[in-house]
Chain length 325, copies 2
Amino acid sequence: MGYIIGFDVGGTNIVCGLLDGKGRLVGKAKRPTEAANGFGHVVGLMAACVDGLLAEHGIDRGQVDAVGAGIPGFVDPLRGVVRFAGNLSWTDRPLAEELAGRTGLPVYIDNDVRMYIYGEAMAGAGRGFGVVLGVTVGTGLAAALVDRGQLYRGGGFMAGEIGHIRMDGIRYECGCGMSGCLETVVSATGIARLAREKAASGTPTALTRFYGLEHLDRLTAADVSKAYDLGDAAAIEVMDEVGRLLGRGLSYATTLFSPDVIIVGGGAANAGERLLAPMRTELQSLVHPMYWKRLAIRQAELLDDAGVIGSALYAGRRAAGEAEG
Amino acid sequence: MGYIIGFDVGGTNIVCGLLDGKGRLVGKAKRPTEAANGFGHVVGLMAACVDGLLAEHGIDRGQVDAVGAGIPGFVDPLRGVVRFAGNLSWTDRPLAEELAGRTGLPVYIDNDVRMYIYGEAMAGAGRGFGVVLGVTVGTGLAAALVDRGQLYRGGGFMAGEIGHIRMDGIRYECGCGMSGCLETVVSATGIARLAREKAASGTPTALTRFYGLEHLDRLTAADVSKAYDLGDAAAIEVMDEVGRLLGRGLSYATTLFSPDVIIVGGGAANAGERLLAPMRTELQSLVHPMYWKRLAIRQAELLDDAGVIGSALYAGRRAAGEAEG
């Protein structure tokens, strides 16, 4: 196996990474996405990232097997087309073909959550497990499933949208146009929202001290963790509620997918046990013991590198004909 | 392709069927399971079924590619072992090996719901669709997923237990040891239970006329359909409630699996539109339009033959190395 290159494309930054023949991340670079300059410009930046990595490491283009990329949005991984990526203002963009044209290398793409979870499944917290269900709790909430090395994508490549399961008792409007979606609560955004509401309701809480009552909109999920660690009752209630709802959503996914391991990643996973403890309790109380007793639960291990590693490994396997389209 | 033979093994009857090289069901036989006589006896009956089909159709054993069987219980399809089948009183029984020994033919097994849905996916209502989600609404409620011809089974082969998703607002105890499971309401048993409760509550309803107030325990899901067709308000409420809850459960499955088609089968599916209409309404109201607009919903087509056809086709594909274990 030769070198492989992976991209994690976000609305703000593009991160690219170089993996050697043993799958080790040996180089990494980051640059602003500059999406406002258009699709062609971003593809040019990506091609320059590839050139930069090759030059920096003294690697010939012929030693690279493939390039992968995770894109935040709806992707057709078979045609290599980004169907819609709101953050990038892309609609129906043939990214794989364009980037292959500019780099002379085979390019494979999928959405960023799948590439992140694929990385965790193959090289992170999911190593050694057969059926890996991963969730990313970040700005939103999404899931991906890797069944013995193969991504499960569903019809229209739309599987895993756990964040848009609608829950009794949730009333918030969701960015997707519906209301009551799980991700309106179970996400960094949702944690901050609940915290803001608690603080505004007059409950005595340390949450009001961060930015004052007049700037509650600045509260973040990280602030809630800080208040939690001070023993603040309101912050603890927020994390408990979010954790329990995550556990409820995962109970549906567990009963339907029967994963061997659930990996929790994404920015809000930094809350760690504050979120995972109530999640675990709720999940155990809702699923049949036959699932619970064989289920492992892990925090993501590769953190910021999961997307780059995942997209590189995925591209490597696609190029080798080992992963399905 | 040669002939293939499929079994649908139930607690009461064993049905076996013969498919010709074009996958057409050309012969079928049925006999009592006689499970009380033990595992060896049942295997003997199954081997006799094979012999009977071959003799009746003048087919040589060498013309048969494989034998398949769907078993009501937990099955390890890779080892060919029935891990637990309550109706048959089997625990850790090496059915594939035993039946192969008695018939001289390769044998492949899985649970009865997967074989039923596999039949519908490959030769029934799911033909031409990529990702097929099937549910059987019978004594219980279960689901199976066929992704472009491959069964998705999950860790421990326990995927698809939609009947054991626990729902807010359901309080009934379930045979599985938990309470609030979807199948306590969404099943033939559940329909009869709700009908019994309505009738016993004093609501004026045609449901009391079938067997009198003193024999409400005899009410069946089919009786509820009959009362529904008389315009009975209580019966309509029961079907509406069951249909809506089925729709809610399917909304979770749709958002997670993203099927191209949902097939509704099993005995209670005979209720047809009485159940499917409220199911559809609820499902549409709960899933994102991106799922709904591409989702087909079908009633099962093969009815009683789905299990026999599915297990035969599955065995044929396993023997040809086309289906994964």
